[in-house]
Assembly symmetry: C2
Homo-oligomer: 250 residues x 2
DNA sequence: CCCATTTTTTAGTTTAGGCTAAACTTATAG
DNA sequence: CTATAAGTTTAGCCTAAACTAAAAAATGGG
């Protein structure tokens, strides 16, 4: 009786029962995985995501993923077809963007307000993103001046969940030798990789030149130093080219 | 096998396996309840705490409390004797103080850095206290200048978990009519009560005069206004008297 | 000092989100 | 067009932390 009443109230107010931390994380990773591995860094979940990819990302067994996907499908947050993968629904997409907004705002705040290194903010934000109120979100967004990107160069969805326009970027691994540009995004969540990038000075905004691609990786120049960047890392480094003509694509 | 090895490692490093949010909350409330209802506001858990009191505070059934207390006793965090109540062990006391430090530092930070009203900070801190790292704790403590009290006037345990010295305070409900002093602590976690105190201007530091005690509550003066404060609220308002002689207690 | 009331415990469920092992699909290679 | 590999799902089990119902213990008033 009571529960029916509350359910009706939620329906009337168009509210969702609160999602668990795990559920939010799954939705976020479906969005991120669905947008990965393509030539653009836009966050659109065109692609369908596999159970296995999700299992690896969540550090969980595939069987556990199946269980969770069924639950999320019942909640109307994903479209799930057995053996074929998942994709976010409208509602699920909104939740994922909300979580991402929290995550990236927190990263920006930790960096700018509390002096965290840009490579340190991810893991702290990972824990906090599920536990802040809308009031907290609003206050740090305001303190930061409603930033469009976080310290890794990732776009921050606006309060209305639109994604800001980003400059055209390409993965370092796909550039022509001789190209020069600035780091736009460091698109990894792996702490060791982040530490390495930070150590090499490869943070968003840094100027970098691609010397050549070799079998062992890509040779690059950063300031006066030259490095050999393994392909796995050159994959996740997005560069905004300097000398390109953006004015007249026609 | 593996688990034995890890257990041994933890023992060697004198580490505890991480506690759940619920476990931390129980320990915190044992500390708070054990220090309540006495003439002092020092945080010492001399008293033993009943299952029932804990159940009310945690919004949970007594049976659930019993279950949790048994678990905490196994972990060596409380001394628990059936039918007689609980008390924190050394180790449990330390955990409780750590959680309290997190909570109160967060409250202070929300108030001073992000402009939250002092009556708004409790519930946000309640969620965040379990999810911040030691690095975060250290950074906000430093930003704040290592404060000794939070916006409600509650003492903040230091990094080494010592409690700062507080001025001698007494509950409003126990003062003699005619006394004047300043609000030292607003010792409630109830949001409605906090809102009311805030509305009346009864925040830490505010000057207040006790006019008289009546059956319906205590008549007070705050600035130019006079109010009748129900006994339940006069209970939780701690006053630092102005005209008392603290210099020579002998 | 006994009985009624209150408090606490016991025993058995529930829900969320993991796990393993086995079974089943889909894709791929002959 | 099968046979096998790779990927996925099912079934069954586990733990944490809540719950309920009922039994047992403690307490306090007459």
């Amino acid at each position: 009786m009571g529960s029916l009443k509350y359910a009706a109230d939620r329906l009337a107010a168009n509210q969702r029962p609160p999602l668990s931390e795990a559920q939010e994380d799954y939705l976020k990773q479906v969005l991120l995985l669905g947008s990965e591995g393509r030539g653009t860094d836009r966050l659109e979940d065109t692609t369908t995501v596999s159970t296995q990819a999700l299992a690896e990302r969540m550090q969980v067994r595939p069987a556990s993923v199946t269980g969770m996907l069924k639950k999320l499908a019942e909640l109307g947050l994903v479209e799930y077809e057995a053996y074929r993968g998942v994709r976010l629904t409208q509602a699920g997409h909104r939740v994922a963007l909300e979580v991402l907004r929290h995550h990236r705002l927190i990263e920006a705040y930790l960096h700018q307000a509390l002096g965290y290194g840009w490579e340190e903010v991810h893991s702290e934000a990972e824990k906090l993103e599920h536990h802040i109120s809308e009031a907290f979100e609003a206050r740090i967004a305001q303190w930061l001046g409603h930033p469009s990107h976080d310290p890794h160069g990732d776009a921050i969805p606006s309060a209305t969940l639109e994604l800001p326009q980003s400059l055209p970027n390409r993965r370092l691994v796909g550039l022509e030798p001789g190209s020069t540009g600035r780091v736009a995004r460091v698109a990894t969540q792996d702490q060791d990789s982040l530490n390495l990038f930070a150590h090499l000075g490869l943070k968003p905004g840094a100027r970098v030149e691609l010397l050549e691609h070799a079998a062992e990786g890509s040779r690059i120049r950063v300031g006066k130093e030259r490095y050999l960047l393994p392909a796995s890392l050159a994959q996740v480094l997005w560069i905004h080219l300097e000398e390109e003509n953006h004015a007249n694509p026609a």
